[in-house]
């Protein structure tokens, strides 16, 4: 499960201990989406023990301004102290860049079971295309409106899939499916939802609104 992180022990001692510390840090639940762990979210980058009893953890934010990062750091520190670490340092690193592609398959499954449509895979591969084509992507014909009636004009504008995975690649992005009934017939209500990383959508089949983890 701890695929994105690596275990480093400069002194080469007790790799088993580092492995269990890594597991412990990775098992901390996300403060805003407690159904997934930090390891499943892919934000735990590295756990090391530079000197005996001192554990150093590298954490990467999902979004640059994600306010949960401080809560994550505090929770990791507490978990590691309870696990026997005398001193814990949590550092925030920006590279390698976190992407929604770093969310593990188990993490995606848990998000969907929790009612949050998981991000579509391939965000990392398509991101440079979105950026590179910024001025011209609008020169292509308007994207096909997603099936279903026009959204209420009182809500946010537009119904297209937005700038996420697939935008600007010339291929139709995979539809966002309703996490409740599985229908692909869903519309965007607002680009920004309960947190910066989610958009608000509505299923046209079962009429339920739901959060969608936006691809970055």
């Amino acid at each position: 499960m701890v695929t994105a992180s690596s275990v480093h022990s400069p002194t080469g001692h007790a790799p088993e201990r580092l492995k269990s510390l890594t597991k412990l840090a990775g098992s901390v639940p996300d403060p805003e989406l407690p159904v997934v762990t930090l390891a499943e979210l892919g934000v735990l980058r590295r756990v090391s023990e530079p000197s005996p009893g001192h554990v150093e953890v590298e954490l990467t934010p999902t979004y640059t301004g994600c306010p949960a990062i401080e809560a994550m750091a505090a929770d990791i520190e507490q978990a590691l102290r309870e696990g026997g670490a005398e001193r814990v340092t949590v550092r925030t690193v920006l590279t390698p860049l976190w992407s929604t592609d770093d969310i593990s398959p188990e993490g995606r499954r848990k998000l969907a079971a929790h009612g949050v449509a998981p991000p579509r895979p391939g965000a990392r591969a398509s991101a440079p295309v979105t950026v590179g084509l910024s001025p011209t992507r609008h020169a292509t014909p308007e994207p096909e409106p997603e099936t279903g009636p026009e959204p209420d004009p009182e809500t946010a504008p537009g119904t297209e899939a937005g700038t996420g995975a697939g935008a600007g690649t010339g291929t139709a992005p995979e539809p966002v499916r309703c996490p409740l009934c599985g229908s692909a017939d869903t519309v965007l209500l607002a680009r920004f939802s309960s947190t910066a990383c989610k958009a608000l959508r509505r299923c046209e089949a079962c009429r339920e609104p739901f959060d969608h983890f936006k691809e970055v």
Partner: protein, 240 residues
């Protein structure tokens, strides 16, 4: 670290842009026209605040802690462009300011991405800001007579603040002319779809903005930072 990383101080204008616009957008909290927009503007503000914090953190040796940089500097030492300090005005005004700025910031970060981890991180986030502003520009510009008139008025009023964006920032090795060309092409295209006229006024020269990067600001900026810094200055060292 990347060998070609820009000198830390060269990123101060970008950090100040992000902080000041974040504060302006935060002023919408409790006042936005619909709940979804309240959350969108707050989320965009949060992204910008995150950018500012990451960049300020890199300036610790030069300028001090994040709080000291944000809350204890005087007006003349802020190097943000004058566009971002302009008051929110009506919703059209805010959207046009968002459009002008995000259409500048996102390609700028794209150019900086190989040299600056923060830019690499923020480029995909600012794509959402840009998309948000473009969607609203088209909806309001191509909306009712009233919304169209308000958008056109906002565009005309903010136009003179857009030339400053492309004055090269010392230490940032970017293709500035290319940035400006991309910006103008994109704004022209979005305005076309929105049924808005490109303003006829000047974007550089007399009566246009051009000194924000040198620390000279417009009248609304003083009251804005006075409010922004008030709590920290009144209670030095206070924590939550």
């Amino acid at each position: 670290m990347t060998a070609t990383a820009p000198p830390a101080l060269a990123t101060l204008p970008l950090a100040d842009d992000a902080l000041v616009l974040s504060h302006r957008l935060g002023e919408w909290a409790g006042h936005a026209p619909v709940l979804e927009e309240e959350m969108a503007l707050a989320n965009i503000a949060l992204d910008l605040l995150g950018q500012a914090r990451a960049l300020y953190a890199g300036l610790r040796d030069e300028l001090g802690t994040e709080d000291e940089i944000a809350y204890l500097r005087e007006e003349r030492t802020f190097l943000n462009c004058q566009l971002v300090e302009q008051p929110n005005g009506d919703f059209a005004h805010t959207i046009v300011r968002q459009l002008f700025f995000s259409t500048y910031q996102q390609p700028l970060y794209a150019q900086l991405a190989p040299k600056l981890p923060l830019a690499e991180k923020a480029v995909s986030e600012t794509a959402y800001h840009r998309d948000h502003a473009e969607q609203w520009t088209v909806r309001l510009g191509d909306g009712t007579e009233e919304s169209h008139a308000r958008m056109q008025r906002a565009a005309n009023a903010l136009w003179r603040f857009t030339g400053e964006l492309f004055q090269p920032v010392e230490g940032l090795d970017l293709r500035w002319q290319e940035l400006e060309g991309e910006w103008a092409a994109s704004i022209t295209e979005v305005f076309g779809r929105a049924g808005l006229d490109l303003p006829e006024g000047q974007r550089s020269g007399a009566w246009t903005a051009g000194a924000g990067r040198q620390g000279l600001h417009t009248e609304p900026f003083g009251p804005m930072i006075a409010e922004m810094q008030h709590l920290h200055r009144s209670h030095p060292g206070a924590t939550w």
